[in-house]
Structures are given as structure tokens and as C-alpha cells.
Symmetry: C2
Subunit: 367 residues, 2 copies
């Protein structure tokens, strides 16, 4: 990791990255000298650039064009050259305020996080819902809808609620339903999916010691619900700021030397990436497993279709309870310092908001 680059080369690399990120046009030696009033000449810069290119930190689209950082160049920038900043206090306050206004509504937090990230980093954002590391059952309510139909409301620790309409084999009155719900609630309280499944298996052995047929049917349904929930939530990626990203010059045909055709194709592929989650999906577990902000530049870690995009991810959640991932995706030419600060701030904010709900949820409540 020891940078085998002279001071000056690092400096020039830094300038090139910053310039290119700011202007989206290849940066020329002459321009650098003029803009930053360098003490050495453009010819020197050219020599240094040639060296940096040799080392793989930047390229050259054709002879008479300026330099553009490579993935390795960005990587070095992020790793060694960039100063670590934070969002301004005013910005932080504003964001906190927005979250305050939707307090209590977890779904809204997710949406809000997505919106704020996108607006702040001017790129698309990704948020996965917080996933209970172990979904734990809390209670079941059964509500009659009409003669042969009921709504099952399953409540899990941490305020996760799932509902399912449910057709009854034969008409049952409200007391029946209430009684069954209570029995199941008692039996399952605090259990995880695998424990529920164990219980089901045991009950099947000693056939109907505990539960009526109807109740077993319900139990089964609960287990299935928990299972699909755990599967579903893992894949589900909420995304926002598509337009924000598509406003980047990468998607302006004018500024792109490969006019028309390509730009549209690029847009289409960007949409596909966001919609399908291919290329992003594999990064999620990895981000869940690590601490701090992850930066994946270009195709570094993932599919070829991601070659032109960078992803910045961070885990958020409460240790031992729930965790999700949020972050930003955009062209590799991205304002890394700002994007990283945004992801860092929002993830810690979401974590502390979740902590408020989850703290104490391991106890049995207030009884």
C-alpha cells in the first residue's frame, strides 16, 4: 500500500482526478498549469502524466486528448489522496429534521434515505430494508373479514408487521379466532423461524397434542410467511435518484465522443442495472459483512456491466438485531469525498434511529 509515487506525481494525479470529476472532460497538461498556477511547466506535467500512464493510473483515449483517470487512479485517490470530509452541519441538521418529520414510519425512512442520498450525491441511491438477522415472532392477530375469510396480522420484534388474507375452511366466529390467535401467540412468542419449524415438526409427531387442525394450518402459514419474508427482503433493493444520475454528463450525448446510439444504450443499461439489481446484488452481502464505508470502483469486484460504475455502500442497523445496506451508485467519475460522507452520515443516522426502536426489544416488552 506504500505509494511508490513521488510527491509530485501524487499531486498531479490528485489534480487530474479532481479536474475530471468536476468538468467531465479529459484534462490537458496546459489547462492544469493555467488553472492551478503550477510552478512547473506543462511539458513537465506531460512527462509526469506519461509516467503515471505507464504505471496504470490514467489513460488516453487518443493521441491528442487529455488524460482520464483509470479505476486504479480513482482507487489510489480514494485510498491515499482524498481528504476525509463530513457533510456540513447545516446539511446534517436539515437531513435530521426531515427524518424527524416521518418518525415512526419505517417504510418512510427507507424512502427518505434513498431520496436524501440521491439528492446529496447527485447519483442514484440504493437502500435495502433493514433485515432482522433473526426474525423473531411477537404476536398474531386474526381479524374476520367475512364468513370465510380472515386477515392474519403477524407482528415481529422490531415493529415488522406482515399481513395475509386467509381463507377459512369453515366459518368460525370472532371468539374462535381470538382464542386460536392467543394460543398461537403464546406458543410462538420470541421464536425464530427455525424454532417455529422445529415446533411444527415436533407437533406433527405427537399429532395434535397442542393444536387443532385449524391452528396447525395457521402455524404453517406463519412459518411460510416468515420464510418468504426472509427470502424476499434479502433481494429487495429500493432505488431512487435515477434522474439524478442520468443528469450526469456521462448521459449527455453532446459531451460524449461516441454520440447518440451509445449514450442511449448506456442509459438503457443503467436502467437495467438499477431495475434488475444484477451487478449490485452480489455486493450487498459483502457490505453487510463489513464495517465502515465500502467503495467499489468500476468493475473491480463485480460483473462486466458495472465497468463504468462505482458503488459506495455502508451497512446500517443495530448489532444483533437488524441490518440493512444503503449507498450510492453512479459513473466512476464521481465526487467520492462527498458521496462517501453522505453514505457515512445517513448510515449512522439510520442506525441510531433504528436503535431507538430496537433497544429493549429483546426483553419481553413491558410486562
Amino acid at each position: 500500500m506504500a505509494p511508490n509515487l513521488t510527491e509530485r506525481r501524487q499531486f498531479i494525479l490528485k489534480l487530474v482526478v479532481q479536474e475530471f470529476v468536476a468538468t467531465a472532460t479529459p484534462v490537458a497538461s496546459e489547462a492544469l498549469v493555467r488553472k492551478y498556477r503550477l510552478t512547473f511547466s506543462s511539458a513537465t506535467v506531460r512527462n509526469e502524466m506519461a509516467a503515471l500512464e505507464e504505471l496504470g493510473y490514467m489513460t488516453h483515449l487518443h493521441t491528442s486528448a487529455g488524460r482520464v483517470p483509470t479505476d486504479t487512479g480513482y482507487r489510489f485517490f480514494v485510498e491515499n489522496l482524498m481528504e476525509r470530509t463530513n457533510l456540513s452541519l447545516a446539511e446534517q441538521r436539515m437531513i435530521r429534521h426531515q427524518f424527524y418529520q416521518v418518525r415512526g414510519e419505517l417504510d418512510q425512512w427507507i424512502q427518505l434515505a434513498g431520496a436524501v442520498l440521491a439528492r446529496t450525491a447527485h447519483n442514484a441511491s440504493l437502500v435495502t430494508p433493514p433485515r432482522a438477522e433473526l426474525l423473531r415472532f411477537k404476536s398474531l392477530e386474526l381479524i374476520a373479514i367475512h364468513e370465510t375469510m380472515a386477515l392474519a396480522v403477524m407482528v415481529f420484534h422490531g415493529g415488522i408487521v406482515k399481513q395475509q388474507t386467509f381463507s377459512l375452511d369453515l366459518a368460525r366466529n370472532a371468539d374462535d379466532l381470538r382464542r386460536s390467535a392467543a394460543r398461537i401467540t403464546d406458543a410462538l412468542t420470541d421464536l425464530t423461524l427455525s424454532q417455529v419449524e422445529g415446533l411444527l415438526a415436533r407437533d406433527a409427531d405427537h399429532a395434535a397434542i397442542h393444536f387443532s387442525e385449524f391452528e396447525r394450518h395457521l402455524l404453517d402459514s406463519v412459518a411460510r410467511s416468515m420464510q418468504t419474508f426472509e427470502e424476499q427482503v434479502q433481494e429487495q433493493i429500493y432505488s431512487d435518484g435515477l434522474l439524478e444520475m442520468l443528469s450526469q454528463p456521462e448521459f449527455l450525448p453532446t459531451l460524449n465522443r461516441d454520440d447518440a446510439e451509445r449514450t442511449v444504450e448506456r442509459m438503457r443499461r443503467a436502467l437495467e442495472i438499477l431495475k434488475s439489481g444484477r451487478g449490485i446484488g452480489p455486493l450487498i452481502p459483502q457490505a453487510l459483512a463489513s464495517d465502515g464505508v465500502q467503495v467499489i470502483i468500476g468493475g473491480e469486484n463485480s460483473a462486466d456491466e458495472m465497468r463504468e460504475y462505482s458503488v459506495i455502500l455502508a451497512r446500517y442497523g443495530v448489532d444483533g438485531a437488524v441490518a440493512g445496506v444503503l449507498g450510492i451508485i453512479g459513473p466512476t467519475r464521481m465526487a467520492y469525498p462527498r458521496s462517501i460522507s453522505a453514505v457515512r452520515y445517513i448510515s449512522t443516522l439510520m442506525s441510531s434511529l433504528l436503535a431507538e426502536i430496537y433497544k429493549g426489544s429483546d426483553q419481553r416488552g413491558i410486562e
Copy 2:
């Protein structure tokens, strides 16, 4: 409405629309004669086309280009020339099957309807969640999360459930919560938003006859929830099939005489329309209020930004209980017969699915 067009002109208009919809290129007199083996010559067709142009049914981008239908042309086509078709039985069966597989999960119906519409019409789809014409309260459950926090689960007629975490002014035990929830459930059962508000007002007068301070606080929260729900759901438009729409030739720079720049700009604006709902929003109430399938061609009824798009909408739901709107949006050059069939079929399907849940939900349940 009486078409003041000769048989032959109608026939030619019909061919022009069909050709243009199929090929996305302006249709030439010569080509029509060849392709459809017309009994009259291309010169005749040219004369007729000139007349149709005079009457406003088609245009001409420049002298030496084929004809393109105008909005009026499409309108005439939809109104008088198109034969009313249905989706094939095989297609219907397949769609019904997919809905069967997610029975019980209303959220999934909405998503599925969107996906199916988009795939069937090769354009973007719109679905608003079914909105209770009058949201009617059913019951409230309070679930302790920890000392000073509870989850309120409000159940409304028709299986609509809303949850809200709720911070308590002072610690209360589970029995407390249960009692309060029961009292509120009793008081509010079957009431609509305005009735709940009325109750609140009355209670404020005779200060605390019925309810404790805590309970009044809860009532307040319920009312607010109902209100935001009614507001929110009205605006919320679920959309799918963006990529489907963007695969239309309108978004291929090659086939578009105004290369590059414009195509990208068009894509961007399409995204904006779908995301913001501007241009579509105003059409929803109108569709809710009418029966059958609505076809809005180009800017006919709405903003200028919709000039290049047509929208096909239909109401779905259960009379007197809930209603939503679903439909398709795409370039005016659209396969109207097929799109209309798709919207008609899905809307009636959704209606009958909802009817199964809602029938009988006006009674007090099974007690």
C-alpha cells in the same frame, strides 16, 4: 361524431395508422399499394391522403416524407375504425394463473397487474392502489415494543392495514394498552374519517366524558393516519415497464430523424413524467369517475409535456367499497386495440378479485 369521410378515406386512414404503428416509419402511398395490393393506384392514394391531411387526420414532416397520423387521426381510428378485440384465451388463462399464485396479498396484485400490463402492451404501466371510497375503521391493536414505545396497528374494512409506532407519554403495561385499544375499537368501529373527526370534536366539547387523555391522543393519531392515508393513496401511482416503453423505436436514436440530443432528452422527459406523475395525476380522478376504458391521445386532455404520449386507463374495484385506476402509457404511436384489451381484461380481473374480499365486508363480520 358522424364520420364525414368516404368509405375509402376511412380505409386509407386505417391502413396508415396500422402501418405506422407497426413500422414506426412514415407511410408512403406507394408502399401501401404494394403491401395491401390495393385496387387503385398510388396517385389516388396520394390524393386521398392530401384530403385527409387537409381534414387534419394526418401530417407530413416535410415534402418528401410519408404520412403520419395526427392525434385526431388516432382518435378517429380508436373511435370508428378499430375492431374491438380481446386477449387470447391462452393469454387470459396465463394471467389468471399468475394472479392465483399470489392470492391473498393485495400488494402483490398491484405489482403483478403493473408487470402484466407492461409486458402485454410493451409500454409502461400505471396502477394506483385501490382506494376505499370511504375508509372505514375496523379495529385497533396496540402492541408494546418497549417501555415507552408501542406499535399501533389499525385495521380498516377491506383488509387495509396501517401501522405506526407510537411513543408513550408514560410507561403503561400491556393490559392498559389492551383496554385502551378495545375501548377505541368499540367507539370507532365502522366509522369513516369524517365521523371519527366528528366524534373527536364532540368529545372535546364534553371534555373527557368518554376518553382518557391517552386515549384521546390515540384517537387523534388514528384520525391523522386516516387522513394521510386518504391523501397519500390518491397520489401514489405505482409504475412498471419503463424499460418496456423505452424499447419502443421512439427512443432509438437511429430511427429518429432528430438524432442524439433529442432522443436522450425525450427519454429523460419520459422518466420525469413517470416519476413525478405530473401529466398523469390529473387523469386519475377523471378515470375514477367514469366507466369503461378511457383513451387519452396525445395532449388531448392534459399538459403539453404529454403531447407525445397516450394514456389508456380503466377503473377497477368494487362499487361502493374501493376503487383504483390502472392503465398504460406510451408513445401516441401505440397498438391501441391490444392495449385497450389488456387494460380492459386486467381491470375486470382485478375487480373480481377484489369483490371476493369485499363482498360482505359491509356487514359486521361473522359475529
